[in-house]
Symmetry: D2
Subunit: 346 residues, 4 copies
């Protein structure tokens, strides 16, 4: 009986990550009652609004959630809207809040405000754990888990083992993402006719790359290796629904010997071998290898002619890049096996 | 009356570039009788085999072409099969051969043989003009025009004005191409189910990038600036039919001041302003801006935080990247306006 | 010089049909100055707003159009918005108005009002010619040409020759359309993630088929054969950008002998052989055979086991189903060759 | 430990249905050791050949399968290749063979031979159960379960409750299928460039519909109601990977009163309410509602104007249309819950 397990709430259940999360939680062996919010669909059965979800729960308005007794809350709100809800939930005594927005990812309020704007709850800034467990471990008692951005997840997984071991002088992340990454809002950019048979670079402003995932990647690499360089990040929108591929160009400091491809794969194995959802292979990953799974796949190639290292990372932006990771974070924070409820996504 | 114009032959009319070429030539105001070959479909009416082409010509076997009297021959064969046909056509007195294969693109037989294999007609190596007119002008009396590769076309158009003006120390070309670029042969890679909802890096071998368009890009950049660096070239297969986008990362030699984005756009205007099919814009190009046209679109962005220049190029791999360019090359070689027969593709 | 040709205006230039029309008119040999309206983009250069269009014209607001001296106006507005503009243009003396909306397609105000709502200019109802020339000929002096709906174009082309010759007792049109048919407005339905990897029947309401193209098909078939039956019309949205395929099931009255497939193809040849853009083939048409062209392709199959005739029709919804047809209608109304400006789309 | 459960073999593990089946069996709670065959990939680890499958099993050649001790064998071979293997497995004492080919679906050898060719094991014809449990129940002791075709599954689910209750005079099935339904073989038809941005009717021969799923649908409807009419079946290939939608047109005998839409939905509820994977809804089903699940979704609409009933059915051709159904059939034959191993696909 679901009623016997964890009491869980999903704020923002009508977006893509909220919907995906709901699907995972419904099948999670430890999860009991689920509350899910949607202003727009309050009162309706989830599976009638979203026929691809079998869930029989009803959407409630955010202020209808029964907060007392909640074990875990997931907040799938846009950045700058999330923080206030997180504060409220912590104040009401919820034991664990997994925030899928960008609000608690960065370690420095000033950097947040430079890239996003005024932060709604700066006093909580230090209370969050950056939830990329495969690199930074579990929450270790912190009550906020900041679920990483999808692009940073792929980039940090590929880069962390390298910047830790080699003197890297330049990093360029060429990222390709499916349209679900752009959110459920209907815009000209997400119109089928605009996105189909097209690829569009984005996140450029004033003739310079400026996507907000840039400081997140930089900060996390510098947690691993303080001397890590600034990162150039260029995302592109692809005509697919889900999945993300990053092709990352790494330059080493002058005079550094290039590694062998096998060295890099070995480092991945060393660092990620004990984690369930990160794998390295000699073959370059493709989006179809990971779409619909919670796996991240990594690979590397070394260009001796031109003196560079190429890293490749692929994942499903809605799973390992968002909702799958959120469940993994909950599992680790609460002491369940990392893969609980995610076994069929390995 | 078509009978009154140029007498033209297309060798290899059943591939994608051959078919596209045929479509352009049928509508070309100067072209008269067209012969088109296909071993497989000899005897059949083109428009019955390929219902999307209205052409009423019949395919003939290659040895049935009436060579005497031909004004122009286009050879759309795979590399290493093309050269022998080109030799034969020149020997038979054909005035102009536009070769769409890689056989006469490079200037150095040794480089060709390193990347492709034994060359079937090395004695003709010096008689070819590299047909990227927007950079290298018209054929100027040479009887072979080597039509450039689709990836090199985009890369060289974006890079030539920059390597000519700035001391470039590193070039990485991230290329994204539609599946028509992989050819008409049915393979696991081109199966809809493999390519759809996927993106796959390719051209990697033994853990290193090794696509054959690499030396072509390098050589042409060195014709422009002998000190141009080795090029890292990483192509990816996209789930679209046509079109190509390159996001190119350029590092300058230490101590060089970064240009403004507007400087780069200005150089493009300077170098390409008088050519019909190359345009620069402040906005990054998208594949949908050029698919179905003979245009190449260029743009640039400067990452001051990380000290790099990004260049963007988009074109239709079957038009400006192949058959449209072939017609442009024919026009220039024969003294017609550059855009003859291509007006509706501007 | 364009200034010397027809003076033309396109109302509603920022929708898909308006944009496509503009592209055709820019290349039309008889067209001179083009005015094009967009409330949203007034003042901007067309080719900057829509980089896939090379047009250098500037959008103007609708009330900025210089109406006096206009030879032709095209109105690409939604139904019920179009009629008022048409009335105004006729009042101002414009010689020919091609209306791409549904406002003047039907012959009976009551039927219009049943399916659409109150008609803004019922007094003009009788002054329009239904612009499917391949069946109903040119405008023959009428100043309004009602450009047909895309679905009715395919259905009537396939059905008219059959209902004229055989006693048809039942017609079911299964229609499949690309997303451009749903218009440029960004909605949940046209969101890439909704439409991709999906097919959705639509136009059903209250458990019954109710798409507004139904009465248009019925009326035109009854102009050909007054006893033609009611039509069941079931459209589906497909994950492609352009193109439309109809698979039509025809039952004959009891006791009628089924025709041979070749008979039906022969009737098509008889009725359409002298028209440029309708073709019949033994092979069933596919959307890729006609996308990007102004052609309609027809075919037939006879199911003797089950006693039915199947008809197939394919066309490009933005060309033969909208803007290509509009140009064809203009050509015929003004005495130009049917294919003027459309030659490259055959 | 997997070793403790059912011993299972999958013949033909490198096709799409075989691969999907493997994925389901790996996660099935009752399944232990799995053997999987592939001539081409014998010796390789499944997950290395097909990186989207995490399976660590190794492919074996068909004659390397350890048959003694097998509890269940699944045969995912083409029709006419399957029957001989099925015979051999039964002869070796395997308790249950689920055949995913067409070889044992029909009840009459003569009909099989008319549509397919000489049957390799006609003596087994009567020993098979047609495995559409939602209509025909479990295998009830028969050792061969003939897994239904994907198209017949959708058609029979939608039609059986109707032909049982109303005098149906005509049935036309318009079917739309993703490309995975055409199999893993690389052909011109399955080439990305052929299938993308296209829809193609198929299964027509000599100007008449002739797809082999026709007699399967007819026979099963006649098991439900001996007077059911011949079926017109027109499949179309869609540019999506998985999923199938059928829009079915039903005429009733003259003078029969049309049902209400709600009547039809009620019959579905009556007949399928106790089965896990068939659902009826007022809203027409879309492929995205069922892709990736084992659900079939049904709906209906009544066209009173034209006197017809429309039925809609959608399912995932690789799951409810093939491998999901195969697991469901195994579950029922062996007395497990219908949904065992399929819970996450509801």
């Amino acid at each position: 009986m679901r009623g016997m397990g964890l009491r869980v709430a999903v704020y923002g259940g009508s977006g893509y990550t909220g919907g995906e999360l709901l699907r995972l939680l419904v099948g999670h062996p430890e999860v009991g009652a689920i509350q899910v919010t949607s202003r727009q669909h309050a009162g309706s059965v989830v599976g009638e609004v979203y026929p691809q979800l079998a869930a029989r729960e009803r959407f409630v308005a955010p202020d209808e959630v029964e907060v007392p007794g909640l074990d875990v809350a997931f907040v799938a709100y846009p950045h700058m809207e999330s923080a206030a809800v997180v504060r409220e939930l912590l104040g009401a005594g919820v034991g664990l809040v997994v925030d899928l927005s960008a609000d608690f990812r960065l370690g420095d309020v000033a950097v947040y405000e430079e890239w996003y704007g005024p932060h709604p709850a700066p006093e909580l800034f230090g209370e969050a754990h950056y939830g990329l467990p495969d690199v930074f471990g579990g929450a270790n008692g912190k009550r906020i888990v900041a679920n990483p951005g999808c692009y940073p997840t792929a980039a940090i997984l590929a880069l962390a083992p390298v910047v830790e071991r080699l003197p890297v002088s330049s990093v360029t992340v060429n990222a390709l993402s499916g349209v679900s990454g752009a959110g459920a809002k209907a815009t000209q950019k997400t119109h089928f006719v605009s996105a189909n048979e097209n690829v569009a670079p984005y996140g450029l402003s004033g003739g310079a790359p400026g996507h907000r995932h840039t400081p997140e990647i930089e900060e996390m690499l510098r947690r691993v290796e303080p001397g890590a360089p600034a990162v150039t990040f260029v995302p592109h929108l692809l005509p697919i629904t889900r999945g993300e591929l990053e092709t990352i160009v790494v330059h080493l400091e002058d005079g550094t010997e290039l590694p062998e491809t096998g060295d890099v794969l070995g480092w991945y194995e060393e660092d990620y071998g004990s984690w369930a959802f990160v794998e390295a292979r000699a073959e370059a990953p493709q989006i179809s290898h990971v779409a619909g799974t919670n796996r991240a796949r990594l690979s590397a190639a070394v260009d001796r002619r031109a003196g560079k290292v190429l890293l490749f990372a692929a994942l499903d932006n809605l799973l390992k890049g968002a909702s799958g990771a959120a469940v993994q974070n909950m599992n680790l924070a609460l002491g369940y096996p990392e893969s609980a409820g995610l076994e069929h996504l390995r």
